[in-house]
Assembly symmetry: C2
DNA sequence: TGTTTTTTTGCAACATTATTGCATTTTTCT
DNA sequence: AGAAAAATGCAATAATGTTGCAAAAAAACA
């Protein structure tokens, strides 16, 4: 309950209904959320635009990170590492279940080192694995 | 020149202007292409719908594969491995340059084995690395 | 090669998703 | 409480993706 305010304050964000509600969703969700999930779970009590802007703000501040997907959706999940404004270092693997379609942050599975050819400089690496999750197995 | 027909025939696709032109783009492009890139490079001589459908067809046949992105775009690139209809096995890492924004298939950098927690079954793994490419270095 | 059959295309209409400016409301600061 | 700053909702607009169907093109056939 306090955690919400904590996170917002720590990031110098004004505390608003929308931000509390949306951040709450992330804190309670086991997996990643898409824009559509958020609209659904808030009874459309916020304007679409507000949701877009809130998500963008959270990403900018390093509160959530987004997860690459092959289809055209953007998924967001809480940053559990120490991400800062404009500088994420989420080093974990993401898992998308083919059955239940949930996306899970595998916080304990870290992205392995990958050797790149000469001249390439790595800044960030995203690993997305799809298959069947432990619930659907 | 013949390569085009070869690929189309091998996949039992009728040879049309659109398919030839679009496949040609992929064969000549160093990096991945988005829908928008294709429209741009064809002088809009094809309907948008045709481009969508052609890309979908190529993916279905295993001629091109798509690459996960964090923004809301879908990128496509030639399958250089032996992909079959409905069954891709592109095992390589993708690199997105922060500077020139090109996406490159690193055909010689393969995706490392990743150990998942119990109960999770891996089907596919995508690795997308961003940073600075060798041209922009 | 000419004719039939099959496939692809373009168009139009529609749906979904995302962005921007601006006035109003809410939150924060003093 | 009042002033200043920030966030929100609304409306308009843009961008992106989907579908049905008739016309056109390609493939198959004779
Ligand atoms: Mn994550
Ligand atoms: Mn590739
Ligand atoms: Zn599952
Ligand atoms: Zn580059």
């Amino acid at each position: 309950m306090d955690q919400l305010l904590d996170i917002l304050k720590k990031n110098q964000l004004s505390v608003t209904e929308g931000r509390k509600k949306i951040l709450g969703l992330f804190l309670n969700s086991p997996g990643a959320l898409a824009h559509a999930d958020i609209e659904k779970n808030t009874d459309a009590s916020f304007d679409r635009v507000t949701v877009y802007r809130t998500l963008q703000t959270f990403v900018d501040k390093g509160i959530i990170h987004n997860i690459p997907t092959t289809d055209n959706s953007i998924l967001y999940a809480l940053c559990k590492d120490n991400c800062e404004a404009g500088h994420h270092h989420d080093n974990h693997v993401h898992f998308i279940c083919d059955v239940c379609d949930k996306t899970i942050c595998m916080d304990h599975v870290s992205v392995p080192e990958i050797k790149l050819p000469k001249g390439f400089k790595q800044r960030q690496a995203d690993v997305v694995i799809s298959g069947v999750c432990s619930d659907c197995k």
